[in-house]
């Protein structure tokens, strides 16, 4: 079945809104949608919700004969299925271009980065090795399938337990889960892909595009990275020309996002481990709340409510400088900072100019101009937060380091993060 055509007015509106830095669901430019990770009853089954995009990954294993060129390494097999359940544009059985692209990207991201120790999967060299198969099914397509698929795949691999194997001389015994506890795979690092969509020939950039934004975009840049800031794979599609600074900036944004997502995954895995130990019933059916038939489970759409530029201006003029607060990241030398731990930046760029995450333009701008605009935006944000908006996106803005020591911009940010209220917002954080 053909998918709904995109009308001219939708396309024009979306592009106009993007030029005004507005997204359809009220997110900021670098915000991800709300992410939820749940596990099934089997080891290795994982569901990932990224906004309305829903993806399921299942890992299974089998003893097979290894490849002739690599007799002592296990085999990893990846498969992404675009089920017609996800979108009317997907047809069952047919290998569309999108499906080939997603499969290749997932393979490059997980296999070539050597995140799994394949040598530990060897049982008898040259005869029997474990073949680990990861199947990813798309359940609902609302944009950014690649990110959701990569998160689901790596989480499922971390969650998976393979049967224990005992070798005594020539005899190999594979123990069932009842006889001996299954053991987890040995995973070195968790590569996660982050997608950036470009509009108007690379002028505007959005992270985590939703389906409508994907239809209007010019090109897509996918960066797969792990939390140690190692890039595992980069792919640019759509044929747009990207400048070096843009790619650098995207990689910095990606590193921040990846560390957040990795934390979320580890928390989810922890919770699941605790639940299983405590003997609670766990699994997909249990993680869905009880509901009556007529209720539709949708999260409240965030409504961006205020038109406060005038009010914000007043406040900015009348406000006095807030007291100096010690910023959390390390500032070794004025003008240079680090976000989070990790290796020293070897890209050769001074981090000072690149950390402002509010503006998208790659053109040269006056430093002062940038800073005052930033201040205004932050106050605007504070107002919005104060106005009881149900902000359910994973906004990054709290951790932005503004590397101009003479201007105490850190205070409003931390204030706004503590102001984030609403039972709904709290509930969502707990759910995570």
């Amino acid at each position: 079945m053909k998918e709904t055509p995109l009308s001219n007015c939708e396309r024009d509106f979306l592009l106009k809104a993007i030029e005004e830095k507005k997204r359809l669901d009220g997110r900021q430019t670098y915000d991800y949608r709300k992410m939820k990770i749940t596990f099934g009853t089997d080891y290795g089954c994982c569901f990932v919700d990224l906004g309305k995009t829903r993806v399921m990954a299942q890992v299974s294993c089998e003893l097979v004969v290894p490849k002739e060129s690599r007799p002592n390494e296990g085999i990893m097999f990846f498969n992404i299925e675009l089920s017609p359940m996800a979108s009317p544009a997907f047809e069952q059985g047919r290998q569309s271009e999108l499906s080939v692209k997603l499969n290749r990207q997932l393979e490059r991201c997980l296999r070539n980065s050597k995140c799994i120790d394949t040598e530990s999967l060897c049982v008898v060299s040259g005869e029997k090795v474990w073949q680990i198969r990861v199947d990813v099914h798309m359940l609902n397509h609302d944009g950014n399938l690649m990110d959701a698929a990569s998160i689901a795949a790596i989480t499922a691999l971390c969650h998976f337990r393979r049967p224990d194997v005992g070798i005594q001389g020539d005899e190999v015994t594979v123990y069932s889960p009842e006889e001996r506890d299954p053991i987890p795979l040995s995973i070195y690092h968790m590569p996660i892909s982050v997608s950036f969509s470009f509009f108007q020939q690379g002028t505007y950039l959005l992270v985590d595009p939703c389906e409508r934004e994907e239809r209007v975009m010019d090109g897509l840049l996918m960066i797969a990275m792990n939390k140690h800031r190692e890039i595992c794979s980069i792919q640019s599609s759509g044929g747009i020309m990207l400048l070096k600074e843009q790619v650098m900036r995207c990689s910095k944004i990606a590193s921040v996002k990846v560390s957040e997502i990795t934390e979320l995954i580890s928390k989810a895995l922890e919770n699941d481990k605790k639940a299983r130990k405590a003997g609670e019933r766990c699994g997909f059916a249990e993680s869905m709340p009880q509901e009556r038939i007529t209720a539709l489970k949708t999260y409240e759409t965030p409504v961006e409510m205020t038109d406060v530029s005038d009010r914000a201006n007043d406040i900015v003029q009348k406000a006095e400088a807030p007291p100096q607060m010690v910023p959390s990241p390390v500032v070794p030398v004025p003008g240079v900072g680090q976000v989070g731990q990790g290796l020293q930046n070897t890209w050769g760029l001074e981090e000072g100019d690149e950390e402002e995450e509010e503006e998208n333009d790659s053109s040269d701008e006056d430093q002062e101009e940038q800073v005052t605009e930033m201040k205004e935006k932050q106050h605007e944000k504070m107002e919005i937060r104060g106005g009881d908006v149900v902000e359910i996106s994973d906004s990054e803005e709290e951790e932005v380091v503004i590397l101009h020591p003479e201007i105490p911009d850190k205070a409003p940010i931390t204030k706004s993060s503590s102001h984030q209220k609403g039972a709904a917002a709290l509930k969502k954080r707990q759910k995570k």
């Binding site: 007015c9 024009d12 669901d25 038939i293 539709l296 409240e300």
Partner: protein, 244 residues
Amino acid sequence: MFSSLKDKVGQVLLPGDEFTFDTEDTISLTTPVKPEKVVCGPGLRRSGDRLQVCKSGVLRHKAPNMFWMDSQQRRYVPVKGETVIGIVTVKSGDIFKVDFGGSEQASLSYLAFEGATKRNRPNVQVGDLVFAQFVVANKDMEPELVCVDSGGRANGMGVFGGGGLLFTVSLGLVRRLLSPQSDLMQDLQKLFPCELVVGMNGRLWVRSSSTQRTLIIANLLQSCETMTAPQRKALFARVAEGTL
């Protein structure tokens, strides 16, 4: 049957539930018995002497004797006389093919616009939005749309759409918006001025004075589906405060 239907008003029913004439009804032999007429609305079907439910949802009642099933459906089935928002996909010769969200595309003749003649063609491009009504809509034939009413006047129909946002909601919400005393509409009117086109196929088009306001209205309408009336009023009040 009337009484048994009345009992179930407001309850959730599933397809396959039946209503039959109660045999326990005592028929009075002295007073004249008036035959009860029950009008079945959408979702209810008469088969023989029973009334069957064919859609899942909540049973609603309107005095004196109208019953129907209220369901949250998003799939539109074309019905003659209903006005919908369609997207023009193909412009070929004399007709346009219009996608309205159904199983096949409808055809719209270029002469079916107000003031259109063979020489004076309407200015319609591929990808434009049209507001039209069905003139042929049954399961055996290709659906046909027109942008004029029976008197040849446009009556609000035709091509539209610069600068606004198109989005989809469930059919139930659309019917609620279009019902005569809709407090949803009244709440919306108190908010801020905007243009709103409502298509019975679940598509809404909004345009307001700024992009921000348009987005606000679109998000509000999409979230109204799953809210009760007090929750909705509270949300609208908060938004109105925020924009003052």
